[in-house]
């Protein structure tokens, strides 16, 4: 599934430029990618069984003899710590400070889609120490033995700072391979001063997407999972990982009906389109809502911004993780870095100064963030609460057939038939 991701938010445009330039080489780089995966033949390959985690079907990922965790009590290596992350998803100062504290160099490499990142790591041509995967690829990463199991002796902050439910998440029971990084919801962002009605005033909040007064100013996220999921929600379907063709057909038809109703547009610039007035309603990631105030034109108050997420927490939720690739050259140092980001102060600084997507820390509640003036009071709903983790609906790993089903529906909508 070609997914964009909230992480693209801050530098979406800059990243877009790079991608555009890279587009020219896309075909040739595809060649290298192919060469790297060894030019497989046909048929004889039997895929390993994927363990598709669901909240009601938690998964404890297997450990493998040939992929052991590192011993406890080792000194951190002195080599360069190599980080592989989304663009604009880590505070540069956090990397610098960590480097200073441990006397090492820290180097960042970025990717623009999870599939691109996995392709690169699975090629074996790279040896990153720290990687930021999404739970919807977890099983593939584990059975493909791309990640190494974590030694919790190095990660005391996990138990100290993180919400208990996320310390032992259903997609990776016991946090065997990952620790949580950020958590976000997907709701509806809007310009309160432009819209005629707001989602919370509608009996079905998702109906706002069809509000004809928004013609040309209504955006959905350009993401093949997020956008169809809100179509399902509108129709009371909460299984956001459905592989039922009827559901996908329904979502597709709902999406297509938006073309005529409001000439729906697609973007991942929710964080700037709404404050700059290009969009009046934009399906939005909560982290984008948190950063939106800084994109308001001068003289416009933050009260024009709104973010709706179901108050009962029954909406779309997602989180990101940090992991250590199996091929890491500096695994001990990498553990130290994970623990560093889980530190209450460092994690908070990283969020408040730069990333905008909050870490699931016990100490971060909506009231505190409003008091700290990180989030204006009218955007309080963009702060994720621990209870949301239990009530929200996670977009998770699908079977290959399910992925194709979603992608075909999405591609057909995007073709604008």
């Amino acid at each position: 599934m070609a997914t964009f991701h909230p992480r693209e938010w801050r530098y979406a445009r800059r990243e877009f430029l790079q991608r555009g330039a890279a587009g020219a080489f896309a075909l040739s780089s595809m060649g290298t990618l192919l060469a790297a995966c060894g030019g497989g033949g046909n048929g004889e390959f039997k895929p390993p069984e994927l363990l598709l985690a669901r909240p009601d079907n938690p998964v404890t990922h297997p450990l493998f003899d040939d992929n052991p965790l590192i011993a406890s009590g080792l000194e951190p290596e002195s080599g360069t710590l190599r980080i592989y992350n989304w663009n604009g998803y880590l505070w540069p100062r956090a990397m610098k400070n960590f480097g200073k504290e441990y006397g090492v160099k820290v180097e960042l490499t970025t990717f623009s889609t999870m599939d691109e990142a996995i392709a690169k790591i699975s090629s074996g041509a790279v040896d990153f120490d720290v990687f930021f995967p999404t739970p919807d690829r977890m099983s593939r990463l584990v059975v493909g033995k791309l990640l190494q199991p974590l030694n919790h002796d190095y990660l005391p902050n996990l138990a100290k700072t993180v919400w208990p439910s996320v310390q032992d998440p259903f997609y990776d029971k016991g946090s065997r391979y990952t620790v949580p990084y950020t958590i976000y919801t997907t709701g509806i962002g809007y310009r309160a001063d432009k819209v005629t009605t707001t989602p919370d005033k509608l009996s079905n909040p998702y109906d706002i997407y069809w509000d004809e007064s928004l013609k040309g100013k209504m955006f959905l996220l350009d993401d093949g999972r997020e956008a169809p999921v809100h179509m399902l929600f509108r129709n009371g379907i909460t299984d956001v990982n459905t592989e039922n063709p009827d559901h996908l057909e329904l979502a597709k038809n709902e999406l297509k009906s938006l073309i005529d109703a409001v000439n729906v547009k697609l973007s991942t610039d929710d964080y700037s389109h709404v404050p700059e007035g290009r969009a009046w309603v934009h399906q939005m990631w909560s982290g984008s809502a948190v950063s939106a105030p800084s994109y308001l034109p001068e003289g416009t108050g933050t009260e024009v911004l709104g973010y709706w997420f179901p108050s009962d927490g029954r909406g779309s939720i997602g989180n990101d993780t940090i992991a250590i690739p199996r091929a890491a050259k500096n695994p001990v140092l990498a553990h130290y870095f994970l623990n560093y980001l889980l530190d209450e102060k460092h994690g908070y600084d990283n969020f408040a100064n730069y990333v905008g997507y909050q870490p699931p820390f016990v100490t971060l509640d909506p009231d505190r963030l409003v008091t700290d003036e990180i989030v204006p009071a009218n955007l309080k709903s963009a702060v994720v609460r621990e209870s949301d983790f239990d009530t929200g609906y996670f977009q998770l790993e699908l079977t290959p057939e399910g992925q194709t089903l979603w992608q075909v529906a999405w591609a057909e909508f995007k073709a604008g038939g």
Partner: protein
């Protein structure tokens, strides 16, 4: 044109000329034939279910035509998904090419005929904005076209519009405008190069024989510039067919998405990378068809001119 004189040792010389083509052949093989075969392999191959990376099939006997069937079905079946996108792309490119020609021809003509000693400077001035990357210029258009942007300001000031228009609401005209603006210099340059070389004495002769300036243009200059017009059209049409960022930036609406957007969607990830590769090949076949027409048409134009 006189044939080059054959001298003794000509055969060895011929071998030398042939050898000089070698770097070009190697280049083509390395950067066209091999990558093209890779795309074929991907289009007829499978995808690794774990890592979702393409697993190309190199042996044509083992080719899996599933992706192609999917693309062909989307093209030929009634209401097929890809049919709309291909048609839309064709229409957008055709309109953009015609508009580009309408802009580029007078400009190139003016510079070639009346530029005088300012020719160099005029050309430089025309091309200067294009030192900036294509994407930056498209991003600049977003600012110009937005509700309170300069385009609306100017149109309101002149009185063409009563209220600001939302040019970025996902309309085709904005996408076409972007494409024309983005590619027009590549039309101007070949036209200029050709028009500049037209022998003035031919025009003088036409005038001497009683043709009005308009007739001279219609009967002499225009027919002479047909090959340049065709070359310019081909040069800008080829990249336009693969464009996906102009509609993304200036519209974002599914109503204006092009073949490039579908290719991008499928190639970026997931289980259907072969579909993306198959779309690439179908698009290439279409372009090859257009190029064949171009070769045929220029040959015909040349024959007519020399005949």
């Amino acid at each position: 044109m006189a044939k080059p004189e054959r001298r003794l040792g000509g055969r060895r010389r011929e071998a030398l000329w042939a050898a000089l083509a070698l770097p070009g052949i190697v280049w083509l093989a390395l950067f066209f034939v091999v990558p093209f075969y890779v795309i074929l392999g991907v289009a007829f191959g499978t995808v690794d279910p774990t890592f979702q990376t393409p697993r190309p099939t190199w042996n044509p006997l083992d080719w899996n035509t599933q992706a192609f069937d999917f693309v062909i079905d989307g093209l030929v079946s009634r209401g097929g998904v890809f049919r709309h996108v291909f048609l839309r792309t064709l229409v957008y490119v055709a309109i953009s090419v015609v508009l580009s020609l309408a802009i580029a021809y007078p400009v190139a003509y003016f510079v070639a005929r009346f530029g005088g000693r300012w020719k160099g400077l005029l050309l430089l001035g025309l091309i200067a904005p294009f030192f900036i990357s294509y994407l930056m210029r498209m991003l600049a258009w977003i600012n110009l076209l937005q509700d309170d942007g300069w385009v609306n300001d100017v149109l309101l000031w002149i009185g063409i519009l009563d209220a600001p228009r939302n040019w970025l609401d996902g309309r085709a005209s904005s996408v076409i405008l972007g494409m024309v603006y983005g590619y027009v210099p590549f039309m101007i340059l070949p036209l200029y190069a050709f028009l500049d070389r037209i022998d003035r004495s031919l025009l003088d002769a036409a005038r001497d024989l009683g043709a009005s300036p308009l007739q001279a243009f219609r009967l002499v200059t225009l027919p002479l510039s047909v090959p340049a017009i065709l070359a310019g059209c081909v040069i800008i049409a080829l990249p336009m067919f693969g464009d996906y960022y102009t509609p993304d930036l200036l519209s974002g609406s599914p109503k204006t998405s092009l073949v490039g957007n579908q290719i991008n969607l499928y190639i970026r990830g997931g289980q259907q990378i072969p579909v993306g590769a198959a779309l690439v090949i179908v698009l290439m076949l279409l372009l090859a068809f257009l190029l064949a027409y171009y070769v045929f048409a220029t040959a015909r134009a040349q024959r007519r001119l020399s005949g």
